[in-house]
């Protein structure tokens, strides 16, 4: 197994509150890894450190062959990262424009992605005319349009109703199977974590440690049917038990 993302002895404090003290983690290449843990355990902080938005206080981290053009990060507040002065199409095109791709290439990539997502957008309208769920799908497509090798996703489905939530999970898996990126996913929803991930990493309270890494061997694509499988419940129960210990409940 090849490790694509790693951190050793990472240190980070905010106003004298220690989030990470000698924190280490390894994320396998071409796998979906979900991070599940208590509030304030530094899940978003970890993603922000790894992507260079937030400075570490100490330790080391590495993303293999890191390159901004092959990396995407879907923020929690996706609504505020879409550009309201650009049409929906121009929003998706932004990362490709940044990479100086031709109009034709952009058009082609967007069409490919749209086939995968099987979602009809009015490309000429603006993000503020879309519902919250549609905006999230738009932000997703914007992140995937560059074919990233590494994808960070922070609470992607929290604003969605259950139906759209399931739909977006399906799209993400389709994309994953087609392009096999390394995905690091933060979620507060245990069902989401187990449904999507190969590996579920459970965090402790701060100062944060990795309590356990649990495998979910269910094959992809995982459908709604997979949610009802015996194996799904076994893995979910296991994750829950570890989480229970983490929060002393």
């Amino acid at each position: 197994m090849k490790i694509a993302i790693s951190a050793q002895n990472l240190k980070k404090s905010f106003n004298h509150t220690e989030v990470f003290r000698d924190f280490s983690i390894g994320v396998e290449q071409e796998k979906i890894t979900a991070i599940f843990g208590p509030n304030g355990s530094g899940k978003s902080t970890l993603l922000n450190i790894l992507s260079g938005i937030v400075a570490k206080d100490g330790g080391e981290f590495n993303i293999e062959n890191f390159n901004h053009f092959e990396f995407s990060y879907i923020f929690q507040n996706y609504r505020e990262s879409l550009l309201p002065w650009r049409t929906n199409f121009e929003n998706i095109a932004l990362p490709l424009e940044i990479q100086n791709k031709s109009r034709q290439e952009i058009q082609q990539r967007v069409e490919e992605l749209q086939k995968l997502f099987d979602f009809k957008f009015n490309w000429e309208s603006y993000p503020y005319e879309l519902s919250g769920g549609q905006q999230q799908i738009l932000a997703f497509m914007r992140a995937l349009v560059t074919n990233p090798k590494v994808l960070f996703i922070d609470e992607p489905f929290s604003a969605l109703d259950y139906e759209n939530n399931l739909r977006l999970r399906e799209y993400l898996q389709k994309y994953y199977l087609a392009f096999k990126p390394t995905i690091l996913l933060i979620t507060h929803n245990i069902e989401e974590a187990v449904h999507l991930a190969d590996k579920i990493v459970v965090f402790s309270k701060k100062p944060t440690k990795v309590l356990e890494v649990i495998d979910n061997p269910q094959p992809y694509p995982r459908t709604v049917q997979s949610l009802k499988a015996e194996q799904f419940h076994q893995v979910k129960d296991e994750v829950l038990s570890i989480f229970q210990k983490a929060i002393n409940l």
Binding site: F71, Y73, F75, E80, L83, L94, E97, I98, Q99, Y128
Partner: protein
């Protein structure tokens, strides 16, 4: 335009008419609105005021163009770095707080008793407002959008062109709208001073001196209409192009 927006002007004319009718103020100093409006129509119809109108408008437009040409790039540039802006903030705020008309004698010394000094002082004051608003627009850009672009690997130039510039536009437009109003105010006031025989300000002061009171009111009314229309023009452009503002 909504139907009820017509209530405002009607109300104004009504109050004016009642005040004139009741002779709350000497009729000589406050003619009734219909006399004034009649006078204005006559002035415009005969073309007597057209030359002055265009000379004032010409000065306003010229000073405004100069203010944009200098203020907009400077504001965009200063806003890119909060440190740079803060270090010159005092100068901008100081001159912004100084009544521009107080600087007019100084501009007269520098530019002479010509149109240049009027245009320069109006341009100067408008420019400060444009700098201030544009720089603030850039500085207060949503961090999340800039961050998203940075993560996509955007260069500084790309972030500026595709994000910061657009982010600043709503605030810039507020600046432009205030600046054009101020420009009109300064031009009209300075026209009253010295160094010109044309312009609405000149004609207001002339008719005051010669006690052509209805003419004075008519031209005051005209300057008001010009100011209002300029504001309306900017609001319309803003609505059309900044449809996304605040979304």
């Amino acid at each position: 335009m909504k139907k009820y927006t017509i209530i405002g002007p009607i109300l104004l004319i009504l109050i004016w008419a009642v005040a004139a009718q009741l002779q709350l103020i000497d009729k000589f100093f406050l003619p009734d609105p219909f006399t004034v409006i009649g006078k204005l129509v006559e002035l415009l119809g005969s073309g007597a005021i057209i030359g002055d109108l265009f000379s004032t408008l010409g000065r306003v437009v010229l000073s405004f163009i100069i203010a944009i040409a200098i203020g907009l790039p400077l504001g965009l540039w200063l806003g890119r770095s909060e440190k740079i802006y803060r270090s010159v903030e005092f100068i901008i705020d100081f001159f912004r707080s100084t009544p521009a008309t107080a600087l007019f004698p100084l501009f007269l010394l520098i530019f002479g008793i010509t149109d240049k000094s009027k245009i320069a002082v109006a341009a100067f004051a408008s420019m400060l407002i444009i700098i201030f608003n544009t720089a603030y627009g850039v500085m207060h850009a949503k961090k999340s959008r800039v961050l998203a672009a940075q993560i996509m690997g955007a260069t500084k130039a790309q972030i500026f062109r595709w994000i910061l510039f657009w982010e600043s536009l709503p605030q810039t437009f507020i600046g432009l709208r205030s600046a054009v109003s101020l420009s009109l105010v300064i031009i009209v006031v300075t026209e009253m001073f010295i160094g010109t025989t044309s312009g609405l300000g000149r004609k207001i002061i002339d008719s005051q001196i010669t006690y052509e009171i209805p003419t004075m009111y008519a031209i005051i009314l005209l300057t008001g209409i010009v100011g209002y229309l300029l504001n309306l023009l900017f609001l319309t452009v803003e609505k059309r192009f900044l449809h996304w503002s605040g979304k």
